[in-house]
Assembly symmetry: C2
Homo-oligomer: 307 residues x 2
Amino acid sequence: MSILVVGSVAFDDITSPSGSVKDILGGAATYFSLAASYFTQVRVVAVVGEDFGPQQEKVFQKRGVDTRGIERARGRSFHWGGTYSHNLNEAKTDFTHLNVFEHFHPRIPRQYDDTEFLFLANIQPTLQANVRRSMKRVRFTGCDTMNYWIQGTPKELAETLKLVDVLLINDAETKMLAGESNLPRAAHKVLAMGPQALVIKHGEYGATIFFREGAFGIGHHPFRAPALPIEEVKDPTGAGDSFAGGFMGYLAAQEEVSREVLKRALFYGGVMGSFAVERFGTERLQSLTREEIDARFQVFRELTHLE
Amino acid sequence: MSILVVGSVAFDDITSPSGSVKDILGGAATYFSLAASYFTQVRVVAVVGEDFGPQQEKVFQKRGVDTRGIERARGRSFHWGGTYSHNLNEAKTDFTHLNVFEHFHPRIPRQYDDTEFLFLANIQPTLQANVRRSMKRVRFTGCDTMNYWIQGTPKELAETLKLVDVLLINDAETKMLAGESNLPRAAHKVLAMGPQALVIKHGEYGATIFFREGAFGIGHHPFRAPALPIEEVKDPTGAGDSFAGGFMGYLAAQEEVSREVLKRALFYGGVMGSFAVERFGTERLQSLTREEIDARFQVFRELTHLE
């Protein structure tokens, strides 16, 4: 099943303890697309500027990603600069130039109308809702958001959350969205806002999925996938979007979305996130094989498996 | 196999979002003893003051803990006061009255000479080393420490680490001890200091065990046990010591200490830590059953288990 992602395609300047890079391809939709492309056919809706050329286009094409939904606008692409210090968990933003992304109004090409799996990367919540509403054949929607929208547009975000099946956010975002400092209690409050499931990303500690009572089968226990302790974290940028790409891409490739499938998807999310951080930008995600991915899936599985 | 713990037996004043308690029984050796008592016979070496009476003694006795090693000194017992705000991960210390603990010199009763499993709770490293050296029949030693000793007495701590089989500390302590911000790299540096294995406690995210190459069997992969997302955390005090009690207590009860046994011990550590935080002080640890413990072990196991 194809999956459609709506979000940013951008250029990044990144500095980490491992070095510095300029004008490399980035953006949530980019990381998501590349990660998901190892599992299923991916379609992208985004906007780029005149600085997006054949070199960037080729990164998507080599992974078979359908870029007909990438709109070309006058001006420059979204450009972000960030620095990671020794604590790689948080980036200091050096600059954010929205450029053409400032007036992004996602337009879904006709050829994408048959899409059944949708991922709304981190953009303004009303845009997310409009995309979801405009796509009649979608049957499973994943969604990301961030503190900026949680604090700035809570009503709009609440409307969007009613339309999504699974929300993927981190610990701090979950607590902020729920107004509750205890994580499991916060998770239940978020589920009451609409989603059938909530994936909370814990960075180097993995991720937990909480289910709505009765959603995707019987039971109410959460499930946790660990993350691999990684010795060489070169660049954490895009780890969360790569996680989402692995998670959603795996789901879209399955016959049905059951609890057991969602659990495996959580592992695949962690796997793709762990690859992403090994090199700067999308480098590692451009040249993986499905064999490498499945080998790491096994390592993740054994990491917590008792005989 | 009996296990001996050397550490503090204390009184605590604790405030958390769930309430406030005064003069309740606490201390690392107390939490450790109670948690370990569900797995094996426990012996305690500690010092208390005249305020330690039959009421406190009874808590140990009801769990069958051997208290002949608890020395009674003139004055008052160690007394700690701390406050947890909504972020339950860190306590603000309100006061620390060392009292009789200031001059604690562990004396091992003759009847404890046949001890084979030893846990050195968080006390001055040279005292830890002296205890270990004085006990000729010990064949497995666990050890805790903290930032105060890592920064204040690094040489003494280095000597102690040469004598221990497994060190149990948290993420921040591991990074500080190794002088390295990447956790797996820090873990390998700590292992090079002496321990055969290192258990890093991640609080609500579980714990990871790293092995020295060749120690306890073949392989070099770390292993991670998750923690249960807990809705009602009343009082995090003693979670780490209860973890150590479950971990070491389970080990001491097994025929041999293999990798597979260490992995299961890591789960039991998490289980005992998760019980400890459900009530103030040691309340929950006083009244468990082995059935409740094994039921939660299964929940932890299923938390990350793929079909």
